[in-house]
């Protein structure tokens, strides 16, 4: 697992398009009404799409798209010798602009003034204008002197004018368009930089308060890519050499099985035997194999003889064990369980954890559970991950984890009393 991070979607998929179109339209109008002094006029198109890019920080691809639209507009409205050159110069400049804006490289402060607009508009206009005149020179085979001493200085002058206009307009525009999206400039992650190695055949517990991302982490390991999270392109998650985030669900379903917190929600058939057959049939096993597996997992989970029982007649602990049996039947390498004992009586809770340990010993399955109550998992888990404030606080052995939680007061409420008292006694002595 490398650098796992989630970012919640903000439902702004079309925002960049809306703002860009608005700004490009304003640019066209301003360009038409701006005075043209000695053949030099401010290139409002470029100023405007640069501002739009700064307001929305689109991806490089989107920036390129903005450039194409602007290029088309410029081609149609331009009085230049070869207007079609705009179709190359604008996309090129907008692409570069989006890349620079996305990385905030121009965000330089001077006397508490953010100089990003002036720098970015200058660079973008210069690239656009520069490439425009360069291509014009090449195509029309103009003399070098004209290019160096007439065309380039004009480009520089226009870039300077644009930079000033950009600097003046950016902050009011930012106020108007980004007031409600003030976090736009700093990406906020629900979870970030979670790095851990979970050895094969280990027993790991993930803990942390509600909302810290335990379930999201488990689901991600299980290969469920959640639509409500945005890109995870910097994240990497490798299980047994298979990149989970890059692989198809077909491959993943044989790798990891998950028992959800609401385990009843994943039981779909009427009786116990059918429930196990159902998943095996879906996985394409033969009848003989299904029968053999069913018998095997029912015995393993203490449900032998329950094959014909109605699922509704089972207790919470039995249903939980059935959900585990289904995953077990698929022989997955990893078994993930989200709060497996939350609604189960103490006896049932112990049985479930003993069962998980048996499974781990017998099949070498890697077990990962999310838990609030560390009491039941304590005798079995070999390592723990503690999540807080959207990040991984510690990954280590149970002892290390709990000591860290205790010392740094990170979700220390979850430390079992026995451990807590010994930790405190340790401090006393």
């Amino acid at each position: 697992m490398q650098n796992i991070r989630f970012q919640e979607k903000k439902g702004e998929d079309l925002r960049w398009i809306t703002i860009t179109i608005l700004f490009l339209a304003i640019g066209v109008i301003l360009r038409m009404v701006s005075p043209n002094i000695g053949g030099i006029s401010l290139n409002w198109n470029i100023v405007m799409y640069t501002l739009a890019i700064m307001l929305c920080r689109p991806s490089a691809k989107q920036g390129f798209g903005i450039g194409i639209v602007s290029g088309l507009v410029a081609t149609m409205s331009s009085k230049a010798a070869i207007p079609y050159v705009n179709l190359v110069s604008d996309p090129l400049a907008a692409l570069l602009c989006a890349m620079l804006a996305g990385r905030y490289v121009c965000r330089i402060r001077l006397f508490r003034i953010n100089l990003e607009p002036v720098l970015l508009v200058f660079v973008t206009t210069f690239i656009s204008g520069g490439s425009f005149v360069l291509l014009t020179k090449i195509i029309l085979s103009l003399p070098m002197n004209v290019f160096l001493f007439a065309m380039l200085p004009v480009v520089l002058l226009v870039a300077c004018l644009g930079a000033v206009a950009g600097q003046l307009l950016y902050h009011p525009a930012d106020r108007i368009f980004n007031a409600t999206a003030s976090n736009q400039n700093q990406k906020k992650f629900s979870m970030k930089n979670v790095n851990a190695v979970i050895p094969k055949g280990s027993f790991t517990v993930v803990t942390g308060a509600n909302g810290e991302g335990k379930t999201s982490l488990l689901l991600t390991i299980a290969g469920a890519r959640m639509d409500y999270f945005e890109d995870m392109k910097d994240s990497r998650l490798v299980v047994n050499g298979i990149d989970i985030l890059e692989s198809s669900r077909e491959i993943l379903k044989s790798k990891a099985g998950m028992v959800m917190a609401d385990y009843e929600g994943q039981l779909v058939t009427e009786n116990v035997g059918d429930e196990i057959d159902f998943s095996l049939e879906n996985a394409g096993y033969t009848v003989e194999k299904i029968q053999k597996r069913r018998q095997e997992v029912l015995e393993m989970t203490g449900l032998a003889g329950f094959g014909n029982r109605k699922i509704v007649s089972l207790s919470g602990g039995q249903k939980q064990r059935l959900a585990i049996a289904v995953m077990l039947a698929l022989h997955t390498d990893i078994l993930l369980l989200d709060e497996p004992v939350a609604a189960i009586d103490p006896e049932g809770a112990r049985e479930i954890y003993t069962l998980l340990e048996d499974i781990r010993e017998k099949y070498g399955t890697t077990i990962i559970t999310a838990e609030h109550d560390l009491k039941y998992v304590l005798p079995y888990a070999t390592q723990m991950l503690v999540l807080e404030d959207g990040g991984l606080k510690i990954a280590g052995t149970m002892q290390e984890g709990m000591e860290y939680m205790y010392e740094h007061d990170i979700y220390a409420e979850a430390i079992p009393l026995q451990t807590k008292i010994y930790l405190e006694l340790g401090e006393l002595s």
Binding site: G208, A209, N210, G211, A261, S315, G316, G317, E339, A342, A343, I344, D345, P346, E347, G348, R350, H372, D373, K375, Y411, E413, A414, P416, L417, Q418, K420, I421, L425, L428
Partner: protein, 269 residues
């Protein structure tokens, strides 16, 4: 306060979940009901509330037979909080949710709002009054469910596994709230299989075993007998186990352990 006499109930003919069970909830106490999954803990609370009709037996409120009165009528006296708050939350805002019960009991909109706001303040949710309940965390939803029950100003509160699905922090908050309500005079019927909560908070406890009452008495009484506790499908609370390990007299709460430890180390010094 509430007395259950000779109650029997079964979801089908062959198997009775509850058989001839009698007990009473006394004024101002926290009575905990424990037992394995499927022994009828929730069923009992539903019978008390009137959500289920007993096949046999009687329910008394302050000596008055209410066996035949429907749940809606009983809700003026008893507040019921389901195990899963999602199953009882339906309104568009937190405030509307809390106002529902007083409105049903015939209070005017203004009075209902007053009562709802008071209940929301009690559970520290007043600041979320205008929010959609669906945006609350699990712990907050649970507290909203309690506020909805409190808004009708009941004398008894039934809490069915109030801490399930909650993290340790939310759990602490919820227990503190339960304790506060109890100290203000509320009688509480608490269903739980968390022995630590039970040991720390219950005045008395009932353990159900195959439709009967397997134990009735004070937590300390049961937990000093490890074999009996385990035979009933329960386990010793952590505090009891740890105090035994440390060679201390039986302690029901972490606070007791700390107090005794300090005393011991104090005498050593």
């Amino acid at each position: 306060m509430i007395e259950i006499r000779d109650m029997t109930y079964g979801y089908n003919e062959e198997k009775k979940v509850i058989q001839n069970v009698s007990f009473s909830l006394r004024n101002g106490e926290i009575l905990a009901i424990a037992g394995r999954n499927g022994t009828g803990k929730t069923t009992i609370t539903r019978l008390v509330m009137g959500l289920l009709k007993p096949e046999q037996g009687t329910v008394f409120f302050d000596g008055r037979d209410v066996t035949q009165s429907p749940a809606a009528e009983r809700s003026a006296v008893i507040g019921y909080v389901f195990q899963n708050p999602d199953s009882q939350i339906f309104a568009n805002t937190v405030l509307e949710e809390a106002m529902y019960s007083p409105l049903q009991h015939g209070y005017s909109g203004k009075q209902a709002e007053e009562k709802a706001r008071k209940a929301l303040r009690e559970v520290a949710l007043l600041e979320f009054a205008e929010r959609s309940p669906q945006l609350l965390s699990r712990g907050q939803k649970q507290r909203l469910a309690i506020a909805s029950a409190l808004a009708a100003e009941p004398e008894v509160l039934i809490l069915d596994e109030p801490t399930s699905g909650q993290d340790c922090r939310e759990r602490v908050q919820l227990l503190r709230l339960m304790r506060k309500l109890n100290e203000e005079g509320m009688s509480i019927l608490l269903v739980t299989h968390d022995m630590d909560i039970l040991a720390e908070h219950a005045t008395r406890m009932l353990v159900l075993e195959q439709g009967h009452i397997g134990f009735e008495g004070k937590p300390a009484e049961l937990f000093s007998d490890k074999e009996k506790t385990e035979a009933l499908g329960l386990e010793l609370p952590e505090a009891v186990r740890v105090s035994a390990e440390l060679g201390l007299p039986i302690c029901l709460t972490p606070a007791e352990i700390y107090a005794k430890l300090v005393r011991r180390t104090g005498t050593h010094a």
